[in-house]
């Protein structure tokens, strides 16, 4: 046990060096960081976004040197609530709740707070004043992408829109879309479609093909989720319409970057928050709470606009290069008190 603690300590120290120089004077309880136990209780874990989020959590936890446990409920809402109780029983000091349902997590989160545990929640509203909410701002994501669409196409165009109601982030992005449509009466939405049938890109491609043949006058497709955008792009390519249609989306991955950079690609821009950065911010917000500081109730990680032109000009080929060449994407200046060690870049 001791050797393991020493090991995490060493890694943590090594990770701090390029960041903030010598940061041994962290406030209590991080003067003995190896003794601080932190749990990540997950609802969603499958897919690139959640893998990247986890890697961010792991890196930041390593940088501070805390002992991280990961509980994965794999979309079982009841199990996720049980896992919070399990964490309480294990004597965990801090919990990050990652996604989940308000109905099942609200009471569990309250029990953790009552047990004196510090809690932060990412992308799930647990309706608790003592629990900071970490969010990627979905409204800002949609706003950035749509501002680019208006800049490229003017404020009069015929649009197709991909949307599945009932998914919280998509619902928030939808609010922005409605607002932008209201502010720009020249934007005409002629088709709305969307599905989450697996594999999503394939199912959306089938739908988008139908939509494009029914409405060949569409010039802008707003697909505020990268799997949707990928599907629309397949359909646009298959219909031979990449010259006439522009796709605007949200989120980004290495595969998305490749798709955006293909010659003559219709995918013009996407707005994204780096999931790894969101993971890091989640841990930092929790660490601030544990040190008795207040990260604020809404910890918002700002998104970055990524355009096709930007990717081509900077010759960005994958997520790693996006991080190094677009600094705004690699690090968010959120929840960073002076003592906080940052992960190595």
């Amino acid at each position: 046990m001791i050797s393991r603690r020493l090991f995490t300590g060493l890694i943590g120290a090594a990770a701090m060096l390029p960041g903030l120089g010598w940061a041994a004077d962290m406030p209590k309880p991080f003067d003995n960081a190896g003794d601080v136990k932190v749990a990540l209780v997950r609802y969603l874990s499958t897919g690139d976004f959640f893998q990247a989020y986890l890697s961010g959590v792991e890196k930041q936890a390593e940088a501070i040197g805390v002992d991280l446990r990961v509980f994965d409920s794999r979309q079982d809402a009841a199990l996720q609530a049980d896992m919070v109780d399990q964490a309480i029983a294990l004597g965990i000091d801090g919990i990050i709740i990652q996604h989940g349902l308000t109905e099942s997590m609200q009471a569990a989160a309250q029990r953790a707070v009552d047990a004196g545990i510090k809690v932060v929640a990412f992308d799930v509203n647990v309706e608790n004043a003592a629990i900071p909410q970490v969010e990627q701002s979905d409204r800002d994501l949609a706003r950035l992408a749509l501002e680019q669409a208006v800049e490229d196409n003017g404020n009069e165009f015929v649009a197709g829109y991909v949307y599945v109601p009932g998914i919280a982030p998509l619902d928030r992005r939808d609010e922005t879309w409605k607002k932008v449509k209201g502010d720009n009466p020249g934007i005409k939405e002629v088709a709305q479609f969307g599905t989450l049938d697996n594999p999503i890109a394939n199912s959306v491609a089938n739908q988008a093909r139908s939509v494009l043949s029914a409405n060949p006058n569409i010039t802008v497709m707003f697909a505020p989720y990268d799997e949707f955008a990928k599907g629309v792009k397949i359909a646009v390519d298959e219909a031979g319409m990449s010259g006439n249609v522009s796709i605007y989306s949200a989120d980004v991955s290495t595969a998305d970057i490749a798709a955006m950079r293909e010659g003559g690609s219709a995918w013009k821009a996407t707005a994204a928050t780096n999931p790894a950065v969101v993971g890091e911010v989640s841990v930092r917000a929790l660490a601030m709470l544990l040190a008795g500081e207040d990260p604020g109730h809404n910890v918002v990680v700002p998104p970055t606009l990524i355009t096709q032109a930007m990717l081509n000009d900077l010759d960005i080929k994958n997520m790693g290069e996006l991080g190094t060449k677009v600094p705004a994407f690699a690090h968010a200046d959120v929840a960073v008190p002076g003592w906080m060690p940052l992960p190595a870049r």
Binding site: Q51, N202, R209, T254
Partner: protein, 338 residues
């Protein structure tokens, strides 16, 4: 039920085809552009993958079995082909061959579990489904596969999908109009004809139907029941991997997906196929028509801006009607029900 009037006979035999024709006329009037060669090709392309999987399920249904693992086999082939090309940097031919071998292998294991270990069909293939859903994610730690992805050991994958491979899902042949017919549709048609010929016209196919209606009698008549059952699962596994290859070629990356929707859609197509021409049994022609029927329905509804949940609802409705056709209306004369 024993003495239905002739009208019922006609309804059973041609009801579904009439319904499909009516649907085409309806959508043709309601949605601009539905009645065009492009639209027809879209529909065929959208059902190519589920159609091929459904033909595989049909083979197992014929011998009285069932294959729940086809969706997972297809997504495993999707991941495997991506892994072979992107991480191992091998060429298209090796990707295709490895996937086909994997599909065949999965079918063989399914068949052995059912035949030798006496595990019931649904349970054996259910187990296989979970195995594959997990297995396909282990090499990449749950990440999707694309060029430039970070590997678990920290390096970056540099391979790309070869153009020859992408062609399988994207290339289009000239037919009347230039660049009209996608290769995947050609695969669907060829496979549908091959499965139909095999099941309906060869001795092997007839023996498989015999096994499906009464395995014991078939065995007493000298048929090697076990061998044919294993063969059916191998056909199913192989066709599922073909579906996965086409999916990979269309997506151009290895998407993490459970394949459950592929499974459900293809099973629906095969079951709808029971009702076509009053067959009341699994058959390749019916399966192809069933897949097409669902494709036409979804294409038309999407063109009319119907949201996705109404599409699921209507798909379910069609399936229920087809099953009523099969089991209630044609209760007196179904060949397969002896």
């Amino acid at each position: 039920m024993k003495t239905s009037p002739n009208l019922t006979d006609i309804a059973i035999k041609y009801g579904f085809l009439v319904l499909m024709a009516g649907l085409i006329v309806f959508f043709g009037m309601m949605a601009d552009g539905f009645l065009s060669p492009f639209s027809a090709v879209f529909i065929l392309q959208s059902v190519a993958i589920t159609g091929i999987l459904a033909l595989g399920v049909t083979a197992t249904l014929v011998v009285g079995g069932f294959d729940l693992s086809i969706g997972a086999t297809a997504t495993s082939a999707l991941m495997l082909s991506s892994y072979v090309m992107v991480v191992w940097e091998m060429n298209a031919a090796s990707a295709v061959i490895l996937c086909l071998l994997m599909g065949m292998g999965v079918g063989l294991v399914n068949g052995l579990l059912v035949v030798k270990m006496k595990v019931p069909d649904l349970l054996a293939t259910l187990g296989m489904m979970f195995l594959l859903v997990g297995l396909q994610r282990i090499p990449t730690e749950g990440r999707s596969i694309s060029t430039g992805m970070a590997l678990p050991d920290g390096s970056t994958a540099m391979g790309t999908f070869s153009d020859a491979f992408l062609m399988l899902g994207r290339h289009r042949l000239d037919l009347f109009v230039p660049k009209l017919l996608p290769l995947s549709v050609v695969f669907l048609v060829v496979i549908a004809i091959a499965v139909w010929v095999f099941l309906e016209l060869t001795r092997h196919g007839r023996l498989m139907y015999a096994i499906g209606s009464n395995a014991q009698a078939a065995s007493l008549a000298g048929t090697n029941v076990n061998r044919y059952k294993i063969l059916a699962y191998m056909i199913s596994g192989t066709l599922a991997s073909v579906g996965g290859i086409l999916l990979a070629a269309r997506l151009g990356r290895g998407d993490v997906a459970s394949g459950n929707n592929l499974l459900l859609d293809s099973v629906a197509a095969a079951l709808i196929g029971f009702a076509v021409l009053g067959a009341s049994k699994p058959n390749a022609f019916g399966t192809a028509i069933g897949a097409l029927f669902v494709g036409i329905l979804l294409q038309g509804l999407t063109m009319l801006n119907a949201p996705y949940y109404t599409q699921d609802f209507i798909k379910g409705g069609v399936l229920v009607v087809a099953l009523v056709f099969t089991f209630a209306l044609s209760g007196r004369g179904g060949r397969g029900r002896g």
